[in-house]
């Protein structure tokens, strides 16, 4: 089965349509270990480095994919579609205009966009995307989401390194569903057998730009921070809610995708905050780590009101800007460690 790649700054792509068309949905996340020189010919260095890495990946690997779908997301990268159209070789490039809002009109528009995507896929690949196939894909998606939720809940109870959680999420976003499903079963068993949550680590909620490489998660571990909750798209947003059971599978997808916890690229901030409050109520966290990738403007803009709102409720919040790099950043680690030391009340003799 071929991979059909998608450009998605959040969790906006209806993966079930790709699955119903007979493809493996593959989220393009770039490779932090590779230079973005190929993409930098088309995008200046003040653009999101993650998006430059995605373009670099597409320039190198697009021929291995059946096609590429762009989902409307971050305003800064939406129009990268035009650059990809010009420079990335692919037999199928589609713009999926996922609406920003969740009003009745937006939902009506969402249906039009779903139907347009279905038609384009059917015509291009000579397949029939039936309601039955979509329902089947929804069933598989929900099964993965349930397993991820169960795995994720172990983060606050067991000794689960941050990189293990991110690895699981990335696998779910890039590999065949059947393979992932079996693998998740074994991971749940494995994680359950791990020792209890280590007493020398702090429990944190992670918010902000998506993390796509495990080295950054290792830095958190090295600084005594364990991420036990998050609201990232390469994270909880992917599995926080299930696709509802509806007679019309398109109706189910519309309801699901317009109702998932909001990223910074979707209004309103209050809706984003509501999920954070809920997560912090469900799981007792020692602190909140808010971070934004350099040049990631949606999260940078949101960070001030979001962090102020969390602080107003008494949560301890640390906000940092990070580079897109797997290299250890001592200055960054210093801030994290100092924050953890501060939580411990310091030790001034």
């Amino acid at each position: 089965m071929n991979k059909l790649a998608y450009f998605d700054t959040s969790h906006e792509m209806p993966l079930e349509i790709i699955m119903a068309a007979g493809f493996i949905p593959y989220k393009i996340m770039g490779d932090v270990h590779k230079s973005t020189d190929p993409a930098d010919k088309y995008l200046s260095s003040f653009f999101c480095p993650a998006a430059r890495s995605w373009l670099t990946e597409a320039l190198a690997h697009s021929k291995e994919w059946a096609g590429i779908i762009f989902a409307q997301g971050c305003n800064n990268t939406n129009r990268h579609y035009d650059i990809w159209k010009l420079h990335v070789e692919t037999p199928f490039l589609h713009w999926f205009g996922a609406p920003l809002l969740d009003s009745a009109a937006a939902k009506k528009y969402y249906r039009v966009e779903l139907q347009r995507l279905i038609s384009h896929l059917e015509n291009q690949f000579d397949v029939k995307i039936t309601a039955e196939k979509i329902r089947e894909a929804i069933g598989k998606s929900n099964a993965i989401k349930k397993k991820l939720k169960s795995l994720s809940s172990l983060r606050s109870q067991k000794d689960i390194p941050n990189r293990d959680y991110l690895t699981a999420i990335i696998k779910c976003l890039t590999c065949p569903v059947e393979e992932v499903s079996t693998w998740l079963d074994s991971e749940i068993t494995l994680w359950n057998s791990r020792p209890a949550f280590p007493s020398d680590k702090k429990q944190f909620l992670l918010t902000g730009s998506d993390i796509t490489y495990v080295e950054w998660m290792d830095t958190l571990d090295d600084c005594g921070i364990r991420v036990v909750r998050d609201d990232l798209s390469v994270g909880e947003r992917f599995f926080a809610t299930l696709i509802p059971d509806r007679n019309d599978p398109l109706e189910a997808l519309i309801e699901y995708y317009t109702g998932i916890p909001k990223p910074a690229t979707r209004p309103t901030i209050q809706k984003r905050l509501d999920y954070l409050y809920q997560a912090l109520q469900e799981t007792k966290a020692d602190g909140v780590l808010s971070q934004n990738l350099k040049f990631c403007e949606p999260y940078a803009y949101d960070s001030v009101p979001v962090n102020n709102a969390l602080k107003a409720r008494g949560y301890r919040v640390l906000h940092l800007e990070r580079d897109f790099s797997p290299a250890a950043d001592q200055q960054f680690a210093n801030r994290l460690m100092a924050f953890v030391e501060m939580m411990d009340g310091g030790n001034n003799g």
């Binding site: 200055q331 100092a338 030391e341 003799g349």
Partner: protein, 255 residues
Amino acid sequence: MITAGIDIGSITAKVAIFENGKLLATKVIFTGYNAEAAGLKVYDEILKEKDINKSVIAKIVSTGYGRNSVKFADKSYTEIMCHATGAHFLNPRIRSIIDIGGQDSKAILLDDKGKVKNFVMNDKCAAGTGRFLEVMARAMEVNLDEFGAMSIKSKQPSKISSLCTVFAESEVISLIAKGEQRQDIIAGIHESIASRISSMIGRVGIKEPVMITGGVARNIGVVHALEKKLGMKIEVSPYAQVNGAIGAAIIAASP
């Protein structure tokens, strides 16, 4: 009980030896290329100078960017914690610390027990750090140790508008070409650092009394420029440069 604090910074390695709540000795050497070797050297040298046997050192705490290269340390803490501890020891009334080191600058707020309430650090940029001053001293062909004394002679500090080290250096070269007085340019450089630091401090809110720590505290020009910019007196301890090491030694002595 005798304890040691070792602070490995990007430019200098510092050590402090503490005995039963009293500071016995301190020492500073250049870190150089090998932070691990610098840690060992500064530690060995102070023990030799003070005729202290290694076996009597009960505990060692390391701090600074090279803290993890001090393999023989029992524990390590960030310099934020150590500077807070050191400053509280030197003057328990201190509520804010401005720490300007070789590669970064920090503002730390303390509570009445000397615990860190909040802190802020500069971004990954040399502006407002000791490295910035080094680059400027080279451009001005002045020994860094003379920088402070020269700048306080200035009657009309030059205006350095660029905050970036690289562009500020070009600006300084232009000012030299224009024939501006050396002391005025240096005073302008100090004012640009003060401007950068005061913006950073504004993010946490400063509370008096304020102490300056780190190697740049030795530069009276920077201290004066900061006092002028912030409109408050800044306390400079003779131990400003080794304050982090002192804090580390105190932490080492704590249970």
